[in-house]
């Protein structure tokens, strides 16, 4: 159950954290359940380069950024969408529809962040469907990642879609990966 602070105290703590992030405070802020902390938590997570703090910042972001919250932020203004996109992970099946939405965002940075999330995932039916859909994405880098994902978690039923994508593909790197996926799924069969 989130604790409650008066607004002035919360904002002072948030400002102090933004100035000097610390993992323990990140977890404490996340525990307060106030979504205004999300930009600062995401900034701390992405700014940290090496060391043990990174994992704790990620925990804090995950603790605060529930799927409904991310859904709302991804429907918000540009700053909100860029922050929310950084909290998306394809290891969580409930994020997959949000990633699909972010891949179609009008802002190229949101799309780029969503694209990166396709590099790390856990298999789920929703993700499989996203990879199928993303074979037709306008960005060849997305099509490449979709083919790679489908080659890894797909099955014989995906071969026809991959062959169609291969016939239509104009990008060399994406075509290579689609061909790899076709070959892999045919071999696995």
């Amino acid at each position: 159950m989130p604790k409650h602070l008066d607004d002035a105290t919360f904002l002072a703590r948030l400002a102090a954290f933004s100035q000097k992030p610390r993992p323990a405070e990140a977890l404490a802020l996340a525990g307060l359940g106030d979504e205004r902390a999300l930009p600062a938590l995401v900034a701390a997570m992405t700014d940290t380069m090496e060391g043990s703090d990174v994992v704790r910042y990620r925990e804090a972001v995950r603790a605060l950024a529930s799927t409904p919250l991310l859904q709302r932020w991804l429907a918000g203004d540009l700053d909100a969408r860029r922050v929310a996109a950084k909290a998306l992970t394809a290891h969580d099946a409930s994020h997959v529809p949000l990633i699909a939405r972010a891949l179609r965002d009008e802002d190229d940075m949101v799309r780029a962040i969503a694209r990166r999330s396709l590099r790390a995932w856990s298999a789920s039916p929703a993700l499989h469907d996203l990879f199928r859909e993303a074979l037709a994405n306008s960005d060849p880098r997305v099509r490449l990642l979709a083919a790679e994902g489908l080659g890894k978690l797909g099955g014989p039923a995906d071969v026809a879609a991959l062959n169609d994508a291969l016939a239509a593909e104009t990008d060399d790197a994406a075509r290579d990966r689609i061909a790899w996926a076709v070959e892999k799924l045919e071999t696995d069969d």
Partner: protein, 338 residues
């Protein structure tokens, strides 16, 4: 037995050899930004260019290349952004010195191998070269992704895929915990069982060092394992450089890890004098652009090393409450003075 290393010094007594750096009234610099799996390098790319433009550099590649040619400096051989600032520094007699900066950026990592090649070329060609990005656990600069790791179930189906150390570490720690195994122990077990299949991506890596100075950190083992197993990896110790004075700064986490190998394993690059700047602790992406720009400022202002370190520390604030970020950020390891 402790691993051999050079820590550098916080109290250097000398200065860069500006007479050599500024020969022909021009200084040639290259600034490179490495790659981050979460895209944290992208804002640095933009800030760096903005910072240079704000300092009076202009994006005029023809003029920049003509200036290098006029000074008898080698021409860049690979595509990059070249900026020129006229009269941004002064030589010992007060004469104007122009600066040409070559900007190299990993961007989305898709051309990391090419950027790494351009960086290598710049290390040979330029008077001053700086890298800002991941230190990769002491192994060297990096301009692209490092690996994909697929976790398989007992039937051989891929259940999860990873492309970032910390992501994989978390999953392995979670998986190993019920069995009393650490992330590293789980990694060793699963790779042995061929249930963790790793495809290395090393074209953007430049290997300086393969000793593991951070054996307590999971990512270091994965990093070193993948580089050690790659027969095609580019090693700095195998590169050929001509004999001349250079200043190199590696602005990633704990890059003093690089010093020993750069000094001991590459006699050619040391023959003409090589001054090294690196970090002695963890740093942050948000401070990389300012650090790289601080180096440009310090070189152009003819800082001695003491002032250059102070300039770098000023943009990488010490946090006395955090063991990993306490104290001055940078150190120098100087070539022997004649």
């Amino acid at each position: 037995m402790p691993l051999p290393r050079l820590n550098g010094t916080l109290t250097p007594a000398s200065a860069p050899r500006h007479d050599q750096l500024f020969a022909g009234q021009v200084v040639s610099m290259a600034i490179a930004v490495g790659f981050d799996e979460n895209g944290a390098n992208r804002p640095v790319d933009a800030s760096l260019e903005e910072g240079l433009l704000a300092r009076g550099f202009v994006d005029d590649p023809d003029a920049a290349l003509a200036r290098l040619a006029a000074a008898g400096r080698p021409a860049p051989q690979r595509p990059a952004t070249h900026l020129l600032a006229r009269g941004i520094a002064r030589d010992a007699t007060g004469g104007p010195v122009d600066a040409v900066v070559t900007l190299l950026r990993a961007g989305d990592g898709s051309g990391g191998g090419d950027v790494a090649s351009a960086f290598l070329e710049a290390l040979g060609r330029c008077d001053v070269v700086a890298y800002g990005g991941h230190g990769r656990y002491g192994t060297g600069p990096d301009f692209d992704y490092n690996f994909t790791a697929d976790l398989l179930d007992e039937a051989g189906n891929v259940t999860s895929s990873f492309s970032e150390y910390r992501d994989l570490e978390e999953a392995l720690a979670r998986r190993g915990k019920p069995h009393g195994r650490s992330a590293l122990a789980e990694y060793r077990l699963l790779t042995k069982q061929r249930r963790l299949v790793i495809r290395r991506v090393n074209s953007g890596n430049l290997v300086i060092n393969l000793r593991n100075y951070h054996a307590g950190e999971f990512g270091s083992h994965l990093m070193v394992d993948q580089l050690q197993a790659d027969p095609n990896v580019r090693r700095m110790s195998k590169q050929r450089f001509d004999k001349r004075y250079r200043v190199w700064m590696f602005n990633g986490c704990r890059t003093h890890d690089y010093f020993y190998n750069l000094r001991k394993l590459n006699p050619q690059v040391n023959a003409g004098g090589l001054d090294l700047l690196g970090t002695r602790r963890v740093i942050y992406w948000g401070q990389i652009a300012d650090s790289l720009l601080a180096l440009v400022d310090g070189i152009c202002a003819r800082d001695d090393y003491k002032h250059l370190l102070a300039r770098l520390s000023a943009v990488n604030a010490s946090d006395e409450t955090d063991a990993e970020t306490t104290g001055p950020s940078h150190v120098v390891e100087l070539a022997r003075r004649p």
